[in-house]
Symmetry: C2
Subunit: 122 residues, 2 copies
C-alpha cells in the first residue's frame, strides 16, 4: 500500500510573536510594538527562580534538560514545570516530549537577539 498521506510539517515551537525583532538599543529608540514584544522576554528572566532554571537548561549537558534533571532549586517539581512553561511561552525555550518527560532547550535565535540588543552598549 502506498496511500500514505503527507502530513503537514509542524512549525517550530517558539510562538511567532517571540521572533527577535529589534536593533541594538544604541541605534534608535524602540517602537511601542517592539518594546511590547521584547519586554516579555526580559520579564521572563526577571524572576530569580526562572532565571536560575533557564541557566540550568542552558548549561545542562547536551543543551537540554527535563524536570527530571532539576532537583536543587528549592521549589517543587510542579513549580519548576510552571516556570519552564513560562519561559517557553516567552519564546526563550523550546520543548519536545520524549516518553514520560518534556525536554527543554534554549531557543538560540531569540536569546542571541536579546544579547545583541544589549551587547553593543558595553
Amino acid at each position: 500500500m502506498s496511500n500514505i498521506e503527507a502530513l503537514p510539517l509542524l512549525e517550530p515551537e517558539a510562538p511567532e510573536s517571540a521572533v527577535p525583532c529589534c536593533p541594538p538599543l544604541t541605534e534608535r529608540p524602540l517602537t511601542a510594538d517592539e518594546a511590547e514584544k521584547t519586554a516579555r522576554m526580559f520579564k521572563a528572566l526577571g524572576d530569580p527562580v526562572r532565571l536560575r532554571l533557564f541557566s540550568l537548561v542552558a548549561s545542562h549537558e547536551g543543551g537540554e534538560a527535563c524536570v527530571c534533571d532539576i532537583s536543587d532549586v528549592g521549589v517543587s517539581q510542579p513549580t519548576v514545570s510552571h516556570h519552564l512553561k513560562k519561559l517557553k511561552e516567552a519564546g526563550l525555550l523550546t520543548s519536545e516530549r520524549r516518553g514520560t518527560w518534556v525536554y527543554y532547550r534554549v531557543e538560540p535565535s531569540v536569546v542571541a537577539a536579546m544579547g545583541q540588543m544589549l551587547g553593543t552598549l558595553g
Copy 2:
C-alpha cells in the same frame, strides 16, 4: 588658612548590588544569590514602557537624556521619572543633576554583563 579637610570621596551611583556578577549562562547554573542579583536587572527591562525609555536614553545623542528630552512615549512626565528611577535602582542607568534636570546615562558595565550572559547562547 590651610585647614581644609579632605572630604570622603563619593561612591559611583550604581548600587553595589548591581555590579555584574555572572558567567555566560551556558557555563554553569547560577547560584541562588547570583540569580537574585541578576533577575533584578532583567526585571527592570521587563516592562514595555521602561524598556522603551531605556532604549531612548541608550540611543540619545551623547548617550544621555533627561526627562526634558522624552515626550512621545504616551505616559506623563512623572511616570517617565518614576521609570527612570527604577532603571537606576536596578543599576542599568546612572544619573547626574545639572541645573534643573537630572540626566540619565546607560551604565555600560552592567548592561555589557547582561549581554555577555546571553550572548554566548546564540
